[in-house]
């Protein structure tokens, strides 16, 4: 396996979806190719950092406000459907 083969398999490797044989070949490549080893590690770290990050978290006060608004709209829609003419 060379460096460009490694890149092609990287996503499946990180997702744990490589077959055993390809996985072994890839790990053999990683054992001697420092650049690919670094790329593999830092790509996994990238995923972990984003997964653990709290960007765009929904604050609790906004969350409950949004939920009441959603439920009010759904209730109104339910009432309209049961009392008004049937929508097509």
């Amino acid at each position: 396996m060379n460096c460009s083969d490694f890149l092609k398999e990287l996503t499946d490797y990180l997702d744990g979806s490589l077959d055993e044989r390809t996985k072994e070949e890839l790990e053999e490549h990683l054992a001697w190719c420092h650049n690919c080893f670094v790329i593999c590690n830092t790509t996994q770290k990238t995923i972990e950092i984003y997964r653990d990050s709290e960007i765009y978290e929904l604050p609790e006060d906004l969350r409950s406000r949004l939920r009441s608004a959603i439920m009010q709209k759904c209730e109104a829609s339910k009432r309209a459907k049961s009392s008004g003419p049937e929508e097509v």
Binding site: L7, G16, N35, K45, R51, S53, L58, R63, R67, I70
Partner: protein, 209 residues
């Protein structure tokens, strides 16, 4: 190297029971579904709108639309995947209404393979995120991911942040599975490349920039 498993893998049958109860008119069941997924939907749409007020509107619109169309949910896929698809479409519509001059499309092909070839191969410090305060880190991560083309960004967000499978991501974004795989690789590599400048091991060890 450990496997990266999707984090949303709760029992689907319980979800299906809630969906069926909601279809039968039980508001509490639908509210339970809202509680279960509102945080995820909010994060996803904010990655598209990149604006909090718009994201708030889209979250409401998406859940309302899901509620009104519950009958059409076929139960062949997960409710969450179906909901994400609605939310993504609502977010894109919002964006088009707000900025009609800037068409945002998830299937634009903007770069070649070469754009994702790694150039930065210096290792990162052991716990790179600890070099920054929480607020600084959020700012770095937010700005970095916003720099990706929308089609790459959304694949990364759904697959790696929200934990959808490749198939679910394809379904939610209306893409083919090979397209999801290729974009995911390119998104991961581009983010890695861009983050490297913040997280590189400091060569002198003296903390100077």
């Amino acid at each position: 190297m450990g496997n990266i498993q999707p984090k949303l893998s709760e029992a689907v049958s319980e979800e299906l029971m809630l969906v069926r109860a909601a279809k039968a008119g039980e508001m509490r069941a639908f509210e339970e579904l809202v509680k279960r997924y509102d945080r995820n939907v909010f994060r996803i749409v904010q990655h598209i709108t990149q604006n909090r007020e718009d994201a708030e509107d889209v979250v409401q619109d998406a859940f309302l639309k899901a509620y009104r169309n519950l009958e059409q949910f076929q139960e062949q896929s997960k409710f969450y995947t179906w909901l994400v698809r609605i939310a993504v479409n609502e977010a894109l519509m919002k964006l088009r209404r707000r900025r009609p001059e800037r068409m945002i499309s998830l299937d634009q092909e903007v770069e070649t393979e070469e754009d994702s070839m790694p150039r930065e191969v210096a290792d990162w410090s052991p716990n790179p995120e600890q070099q920054y305060t929480q607020a600084e880190l959020r700012d770095i991560l937010g700005r970095t991911i916003q720099g990706l083309p929308a089609g790459f960004r959304m694949v990364f967000v759904l697959r790696d942040v929200e934990g959808l499978s490749t198939e679910e991501t394809a379904e939610a974004l209306g893409l083919s599975i090979p397209a999801v795989k290729s974009r995911l690789l390119r998104a991961r590599l581009q983010l890695r490349e861009r983050l490297s400048k913040y997280f590189n091991r400091q060569k002198d060890g003296d903390g100077n920039q």
